[in-house]
């Protein structure tokens, strides 16, 4: 894939505080179709930036919401277990989450509970959409009620990255949710972060280890 390779600590995540920027993350088991969904939404207009050390791919997308230009960063990672150590920085400052399972594999549905639990540890308030992907393989699943979403009070979208059903709607809605969360949130975690950032800044005048502060913040201050 195109794009440069860099380390996650080089990522400036403070930029997500700017009004016109949002971060949307994708979660879900290996091979549920997270990357295929991204690619279907962005078609050929995408410039993925691969961070190979963490199997992390960033997709940048520009759009307008209510007449305002918005730059969206979609974060996509591998579902494989050995990448799970990167998660604190993955969740950091995310404004919305797209959580995917594969309608052909029950285990990926059952695992939603784990993904969701982890998401809420780091981001207790952000909007989250549950996605039933691969409905092209078996349209009958759209008649089925998946209780997980209902129980958690989350919207459920039936989609197919293969034939495109509801993919664009999913991403557009996710962006809208991210924007409105950002404008209205009084997320406690965000406040804590902000204070800590200020604290870090003051400290930095003495010692300047800029690279580290993102991950350090998270490790010491998240539950």
């Amino acid at each position: 894939m195109a794009g440069g390779t860099s380390d996650i600590s080089e990522l400036d995540q403070e930029k997500y505080d700017a009004d016109e920027r949002v971060k949307v993350i994708c979660l879900g088991d290996s091979a549920v179709g997270k990357s295929k969904l991204m690619e279907r939404f962005l078609m050929d207009g995408y410039r993925p930036e691969q961070l190979s050390t963490y199997a992390l791919t960033l997709y940048k997308y520009t759009t307008t919401v209510n007449g305002k230009a918005v730059l969206v960063d979609f974060w996509d990672t591998a579902g494989q277990e050995r990448f799970q150590s990167m998660h604190p920085s993955y969740y950091y400052k995310a404004h919305a989450c797209i959580m995917v399972f594969d309608v052909q594999r029950k285990i990926t549905y059952k695992n939603l509970a784990n993904w969701y639990k982890e998401l809420r540890e780091y981001r207790p308030e952000i909007p989250c959409i549950v996605v039933a992907n691969k409905i092209d393989a078996d349209m009958k699943v759209t008649q089925r009620n998946f209780n997980f979403a209902k129980k958690q009070g989350l919207p459920l979208y039936y989609v197919s990255a293969a034939d495109g059903t509801n993919v664009v709607k999913l991403f557009k809605d996710a962006i809208k949710l991210a924007m409105s969360y950002k404008q209205n949130s009084s997320d406690f975690m965000d406040e804590v972060m902000r204070e800590l950032e200020n604290f870090e800044l003051e400290q930095k005048e003495e010692s300047s280890d800029k690279e580290e502060n993102v991950s350090k913040d998270e490790k010491t201050n998240l539950p």
Binding site: R105, I107, A113, R144, F146, N147
Partner: protein, 160 residues
């Protein structure tokens, strides 16, 4: 097509790919053994498959065999060179809906995805297709008549 491919297989010693085919002219079923040369446990299976498919002597016979299938046969040969049993090897090439794919190595995961790709490509709508719609929205009506998902039946165990 002069030859109609019927079945494929492998032979481990020496590493070879076997094709059972029908000769259109004679209507006879025949078997062809194609040794895989310069092949080791470090070889790239997709390259090796391509090499075989384009081999001047075998090309005509392999016309009806998809490249992906040849690649899988090479996977089996290479697994054997790496000390894997045939059973393990075949299992890694099959999709088991209950298997947790989060625990696989990159290579094993790629095999599973290659299997999934067959359906994906079949159902895929491309930009070039005349009926392609970028923003394809379909509403699936919600109602009380919706079936409860059997995946939710053992709910209490999982706590959701």
């Amino acid at each position: 097509m002069e030859f109609v491919a019927k079945r494929c297989g492998v032979k481990f010693d020496p590493p070879s790919i076997i094709l059972v085919y029908e000769d259109r002219k004679t209507k006879k079923i025949r078997q062809r053994v194609m040794p895989v040369r310069n092949f080791s446990k470090f070889s790239d299976c997709s390259q090796a498959a391509e090499r075989l498919k384009n081999n001047a002597r075998h090309r005509a016979y392999l016309e009806g065999v998809p490249l992906r299938q040849l690649e899988r046969l090479h996977d089996v040969l290479r697994d054997h060179l790496r000390g894997r049993t045939l059973e393990e090897s075949l299992a890694s090439l099959r999709l088991d809906p209950d298997q947790d794919l989060n625990k696989l190595s990159d290579e094993e995961l790629a095999r599973k995805k290659a299997q999934m790709d067959e359906l994906f490509e079949r159902n895929r709508k491309r930009k070039e297709d005349p009926d392609f719609v970028y923003d394809l929205e379909v509403e699936f009506p919600k109602g009380d008549d919706q079936e409860t998902c059997s995946w939710d039946e053992d709910e209490s165990e999982d706590g959701f």
